[in-house]
C-alpha cells in the first residue's frame, strides 16, 4: 500500500514513538507592513567569484509597481562598486534595464574585481539611491587560504517566527558568505502548525507567478533578512518549499493537480520568481553549481528537487530501485567528477536534504538484504524519511562509493531541511559502522531559522520529550554524533586547512524579533579523518 509521507509526519511519527499527544501552540501574531520606497526590498549580493559577484536589488519606480503587480514603467537602474564605503574609489559600475517583465528586479554581475576583497555597492534610480551593501569576492583559485567562515541557514518561515537568526549573522562581522540551504520562502498560506507569528503575504497558498513574486517580496521586506543580505553575499540553493512541500521532478506532496493545475507550470513560475528575486547564478533552470575558495575549499551547491524521482512511502522497497534518482544522472556525474578532480582541500557540498542514513534499525544490504527481500523491505532498512537521501539508496551508495574508491577525503555535507541540528559521520554502510565500515565524509545539519520542529509540533516544552528521541536516534544510529530536535537559529562554519567546525547558535524565542541567540554546541571534522568530533568551545568571532 502506498503511503504518503512528509516532514511533518516524520516528527509526528517520532511523537507517537515517544507516546506524546500532538498539540498546537498558539503564538502571538504581528502584522507585516512596509513602506514602498524605491528600494524597499533592500540590496543583496551573491555567488562570489575571485573576480566577480552578483548584485541584486528590486526597485519600485511608481507606487503601483508593487511586487507581482505586473505594472510599472521600464527603467534603467545603475549600480556601482567601490573599494570604500564612501565610494571615493569606484572600481566597477553599470546599468541594467528592468521592468514588470522581471518584476522590477535587478541582477548585475559586477566583474573585474580583485579576489578576497571587501567591496561596497549601491544602486541608483533617477534621484534615489539604495542602501549601501557590503560584499566580498572569493580568494584566487590557487591562493593559500588560512580561513573561511560561512553562516549556514535553512528553513526560514515567516509565519513561524522572526528572523532574529539572520540578525545574529549580520552582526557577527566575520563571515565570508552565508549558505542558504533551502526553504528560503514557504509556499503555505500560514504555518503548517497553525500557529502564526506573522501572516504570510499573500494570505493564501501561492500558486501563480504573481503569488510567488509577492511572497519573495514579503521575505525580502523582513528587516533582519534585508540587513543580512546587505552585509554579506549569499550562496543559496532551493529545497522544496520554494515551489511546494516535498517536491519532486513531476509533482509535490503539497500540489494537487485537480485543484491547483499543472505542476510543471507552477514549478516554472516558482523558479522564475526565485531567479528574479535571488542573487544566484543560474543557467536557464539549472541551479546546481560550484564555487571555489582558493586551495582551501570548493563548494558544490546541489539541486535535489528538480530531477528527483517521486518519493516512496515508509517501508516501500522502492528506495533501492536503480531507476529512481535523487540527483538525476547529469547532476550526479557532475558532482562525482567535481569531487574526484577538485583542486581544493575541503569538498563542501551544499545539500538540501540529509545524506547520513537515519534508520530504525540501521540494516546493511550485505547482511540483511535477503531478509529484507523476503519481508519486502528496502535493503538498507526502514528509512524514517524517504524524502532525504534515505529514500534514494542507489544514488547514495554510488556517491559514497565514489568518495571511497577515489580516495576523496575531507568531504563535508552541509545540510538543511529537517529543522533540527545534526553532526554525522557518513559511513558507506551504517549497519556495519564503525567496526566494518568506515566513514567517508561528514555532515553538519543546520537547524531552521524559524520553521517548527519537534517540541512545537508536539506542543511540549523544549528539551523535554525530545531528549528521549534524540537518545534513541543516536543509540540506533552510531554514526550520528549529535541530534538536537528543538532549537532554532543559525550555524557558523569555519573552514581551515586543519579542519572544519560547525557552531550551532540557538534562538531564545523565535516569536521575538529581538530574541538573543546563544551558543548551543560545536562539532568539528579534523582534516583527513572523515569523522566528527565534539568541541567544547565555539570559534572566536
Amino acid at each position: 500500500m502506498e503511503q504518503t509521507f512528509d516532514r511533518r509526519s516524520v516528527l509526528r511519527a517520532g511523537a507517537a514513538t515517544a507516546g506524546v499527544v500532538l498539540g498546537a501552540t498558539a503564538l502571538p501574531t504581528t502584522s507585516a507592513t512596509a513602506d514602498e520606497p524605491v528600494f524597499a526590498h533592500g540590496v543583496a549580493s551573491g555567488d562570489p567569484l575571485p573576480d566577480a559577484v552578483l548584485l541584486w536589488t528590486r526597485v519600485t519606480p511608481t507606487p503601483d509597481a508593487t511586487p507581482g503587480s505586473g505594472v510599472g514603467p521600464t527603467v534603467d537602474v545603475t549600480w556601482e562598486v567601490a573599494a570604500d564605503p564612501a565610494f571615493a574609489a569606484v572600481v566597477a559600475s553599470g546599468a541594467q534595464t528592468t521592468g514588470p517583465g522581471r518584476d522590477h528586479t535587478v541582477k548585475a554581475d559586477a566583474t573585474g574585481l580583485n579576489p578576497a576583497t571587501t567591496y561596497y555597492y549601491r544602486f541608483r534610480l533617477d534621484g534615489a539611491v539604495s542602501a549601501t551593501g557590503t560584499t566580498r569576492t572569493a580568494p584566487a583559485l590557487t591562493a593559500a587560504v588560512a580561513r573561511l567562515r560561512f553562516g549556514v541557514v535553512s528553513c526560514s518561515n515567516v509565519p513561524a517566527g522572526h528572523f532574529a537568526a539572520y540578525r545574529y549573522l549580520a552582526e557577527r562581522g566575520d563571515l565570508d558568505a552565508v549558505l542558504h540551504l533551502g526553504d528560503y520562502i514557504y509556499e503555505y498560506a500560514g504555518d503548517f502548525n497553525d500557529s502564526v507569528v506573522r501572516p504570510h503575504d499573500p494570505p493564501r497558498e501561492i500558486l501563480t507567478l504573481a503569488d510567488y513574486r509577492r511572497r519573495h517580496a514579503q521575505y525580502k521586506s523582513d528587516e533582519h533578512l534585508k540587513r543580512l543580505h546587505a552585509t554579506v553575499p549569499f550562496i543559496a540553493t532551493w529545497d522544496d518549499h520554494e515551489v511546494a512541500n516535498d517536491a519532486w521532478s513531476g509533482g509535490a506532496e503539497n500540489h494537487q493537480p485537480d485543484t491547483e493545475g499543472d505542476y510543471a507550470a507552477r514549478k516554472a513560475v516558482a523558479h522564475q520568481a526565485y531567479f528574479e528575486w535571488m542573487p544566484v547564478r543560474n543557467e536557464a533552470d539549472r541551479i546546481y553549481r560550484r564555487l571555489r575558495f582558493g586551495l582551501l575549499a570548493e563548494l558544490s551547491m546541489l539541486d535535489l528537487r528538480s530531477y528527483r524521482s517521486r518519493q516512496v512511502g515508509i517501508g516501500d522497497g522502492g528506495t533501492d530501485d536503480p531507476n529512481r534518482t535523487l540527483t538525476g544522472a547529469e547532476q550526479m556525474a557532475w558532482l562525482e567528477n567535481g569531487l574526484i578532480t577538485s583542486g581544493a582541500q575541503w569538498k563542501l557540498v551544499g545539500n538540501s536534504v540529509m545524506v547520513a542514513p537515519l534508520q530504525l534499525p540501521p540494516l546493511s544490504p550485505e547482511l540483511l538484504g535477503p531478509l529484507a527481500e523476503l519481508l519486502g523491505l528496502p535493503e538498507e532498512g526502514i528509512s524514517l524519511n524517504p524524502d532525504q537521501w534515505d529514500g534514494y539508496a542507489v544514488d547514495r551508495r554510488r556517491l559514497l562509493a565514489t568518495l571511497a574508491n577515489h580516495g576523496v577525503r575531507d568531504t563535508v555535507f552541509l545540510t538543511g531541511d529537517i529543522h533540527s541540528s545534526w553532526a554525522n559521520d557518513v559511513p558507506r554502510d551504517a549497519g556495519l559502522y564503525p567496526l566494518l565500515s568506515k566513514s567517508v565524509a561528514t555532515e553538519f545539519v543546520c537547524t531552521s531559522v524559524t520553521s517548527d520542529n519537534f517540541d512545537e509540533i508536539l506542543g511540549v516544552p523544549p528539551r523535554t520529550t525530545s531528549i528521549v528521541l534524540e537518545t534513541a536516534v543516536q543509540a540506533l544510529n552510531r554514526h550520528i554524533k549529535y541530534c538536537e530536535l528543538d532549537s532554532h537559529g543559525a550555524s557558523v562554519l569555519e573552514v581551515t586547512p586543519a579542519g572544519t567546525q560547525m557552531d550551532w547558535y540557538y534562538l531564545a524565542n523565535k516569536a521575538d524579533p529581538a530574541s538573543t541567540l546563544t551558543w548551543g554546541r560545536s562539532f568539528r571534522t579534523r582534516a583527513g579523518t572523515q569523522r566528527v568530533q565534539s568541541v567544547g568551545t565555539p570559534i572566536a568571532p
Binding site: 586551495l295 575531507d410 572523515q530
Partner: protein, 422 residues
C-alpha cells in the same frame, strides 16, 4: 660510495674518509649552508592520513605541530612502494624514472618481476646528485630488499636491510632505526632517506584489517616509538636545530574481505582472441595489462582487454598508462580496483593478503615537514596539493641543487618553509 650493513655501520672510517674526499669539491657557500643543514626523509610505509592524526602516532602529531602538514598530499600512481620512493628521490613522473609500479612484465625475461634493480631507475636522484654535484654525503636506510636494490649505489652510505622477517620480507623498524641512528652517529650525512616498513608489512598481513586492525595498530605504536627515538637522538646529538625532517608515507592502505577478489587473468584467458597472448603484472590494487601478441593486433586486443576488465566486478576503472604519466613499461592498460577489493593474478590464490594498495583509494598520504631548522614554519597546516614527487625538488631547493635535465615534475613544498626558493 659505500654499502653499509649493520656490521659496516659499526666501523665508519671508510665512509668518513669518503666524505672528506668529496668535501674538497664543494663551493664555499654551499659548504657553509650544507654544514648547517641536515635533511631526513622518513617514510612510514603505507601509513594512512587518518592514522597520522590519530591516537597511535603521537610523535607524528608532535612533529606536525612543530612543522607543516600537507592535508591534501597524495602518492603518485601506481600507489605502490617502489615508484613512490623513486618519485621522492627523483622528483619526476614514472614515465621519466622508468619505475611505474612495484611489478611489471619484463619481456626480455619473459616474466613478471619487481623493479628492484639499480638499472631499473633511469634518472639521477638527489641521493647521487647531492654527492656528485655538491659533494655532500647521503645515506639510504631502507627496510625492504627491492628498495635497497633499486637505489643501488646512489647514496654515499647504504644499509643492507637485515635481519629480514621471513613472512613480511622486511627488516623490522627497530633494526631500521638502529641503522638510521648509527649512520647519523658515524657519518652525519647531509641527506638521509629511510623507509620504515612495519606499518605497511603488518598492515598487509592484518586479517583484522577490515575491522579492528590489531596487527596494524601494534605496528603503529611501535613505529611511533621508533620515531620518538629518532627525534630524541637528533636532539641529543645537537642536530635538531639544523634538521629538516620530511615525514611521509609512500601510499596508504585498504583492506578487502576474502571474497572481494578480482582475478582478471582467468577472464582474459577465457577470451579466445586474448588467451595466452597477454600478461598481467599484479600490484595489489592495480593490474598492469600487457599485450604480448603481434603488434598489428594490439589496438584490437587493448580494446578487448579494456572491455573485459570494465565488465569485471570489483574493477573501478581502466586507463591508458600514458594518461597517468607511467611510461612504456607500465604496459597497455592500467586497471584499478574499487575500495575494499584487491587483485589476485594470475590465480585466485596469488594474492592472499588482505591489506593492499595501488588503487586510487590508497593515494591519500600523510606528509609533514618538521624539524628544528629555523627555515621550518611551525604549526602550519597547508591545503596546497602535494605529492611524493615534491620531495626531491624540496631537498634540492634546500641545498641549492639545480633542477635536473628536463626539469622537475614536482614542486618544492614551499609552504613549509620561510624563505626557501620555490
Amino acid at each position: 660510495m659505500t654499502a653499509i650493513s649493520r656490521r659496516s655501520l659499526l666501523g665508519g672510517a671508510a665512509g668518513a674518509a669518503a666524505l672528506t674526499a668529496f668535501s674538497s669539491a664543494m663551493s664555499e657557500a654551499v659548504a657553509r649552508a650544507a654544514s648547517d643543514l641536515r635533511v631526513y626523509v622518513l617514510v612510514v610505509d603505507g601509513c594512512r592520513p587518518d592514522e597520522a592524526v590519530g591516537a597511535y602516532l603521537p610523535t607524528v602529531r608532535s612533529l606536525a605541530a612543530q612543522g607543516t602538514s600537507f592535508t591534501a598530499a597524495r602518492s603518485v600512481t601506481v600507489a605502490e612502494t617502489i615508484p613512490n620512493h623513486v618519485a621522492m628521490m627523483s622528483g619526476v613522473w614514472p614515465a621519466r624514472s622508468g619505475v611505474p609500479a612495484n611489478s611489471v612484465w619484463d619481456p626480455a625475461l619473459g616474466e613478471v618481476r619487481d623493479l628492484g634493480l639499480a638499472t631499473d631507475l633511469l634518472v639521477p636522484t638527489v641521493l647521487d646528485r647531492l654527492t656528485g654535484e655538491l659533494g655532500l654525503a647521503t645515506a639510504s636506510v631502507l627496510s625492504k630488499d627491492y628498495l635497497f636494490g633499486v637505489f643501488g649505489t646512489r647514496a654515499t652510505y647504504r644499509w643492507t636491510p637485515e635481519p629480514m622477517l621471513p613472512v613480511t620480507d622486511h627488516a623490522p623498524d627497530v633494526f631500521t632505526m638502529d641503522a638510521l641512528v648509527r649512520v647519523i652517529d658515524d657519518h652525519d650525512p647531509a641527506l638521509v632517506f629511510a623507509n620504515l616498513g612495519d606499518v605497511d608489512r603488518f598492515g598487509h598481513a592484518d586479517l583484522s584489517g577490515s575491522s579492528l586492525r590489531l596487527l596494524r595498530t601494534l605496528a603503529l605504536i611501535d613505529t611511533d616509538a621508533q620515531l620518538a627515538r629518532f627525534v630524541a637522538h637528533l636532539r641529543w646529538r645537537g642536530l635538531w636545530e639544523r634538521s629538516v625532517v620530511i615525514l611521509l608515507a609512500d601510499h596508504s592502505m585498504d583492506w578487502s574481505l576474502p571474497l572481494s577478489l578480482v582475478n582478471l587473468a582467468s577472464r582474459l584467458d577465457d577470451d579466445a582472441f586474448l588467451a595466452g597472448r597477454c600478461q598481467i603484472a599484479q600490484n595489489g590494487g592495480a593490474d598492469l595489462l600487457y599485450w604480448t601478441g603481434p603488434p598489428d593486433e594490439r589496438a584490437a586486443a587493448v580494446e578487448r582487454m579494456r572491455s573485459i576488465a570494465l565488465a569485471t566486478p570489483g574493477v573501478l576503472s581502466v586507463h591508458d598508462p600514458a594518461g597517468l604519466n607511467l611510461g612504456a613499461n607500465a604496459g597497455d592498460l592500467v586497471v584499478y580496483c574499487k575500495a575494499g577489493w584487491r587483485f589476485t593474478d594470475p590465480t585466485v590464490i596469488s594474492n592472499p593478503v588482505p591489506g593492499n594498495h595501488g588503487h586510487p583509494a590508497t593515494e591519500p598520504i600523510p606528509l609533514v615537514v618538521s624539524g628544528g631548522h629555523p627555515l621550518v614554519r611551525r604549526g602550519v597546516v597547508s591545503s596546497a596539493p602535494a605529492r611524493t614527487l615534491d620531495v626531491a625538488p624540496t631537498v634540492a631547493s634546500l641545498f641549492g641543487l639545480q633542477a635536473p635535465s628536463g626539469g622537475w615534475d614536482g614542486v618544492p613544498l614551499s609552504p613549509a618553509f620561510a624563505g626557501v626558493p620555490a
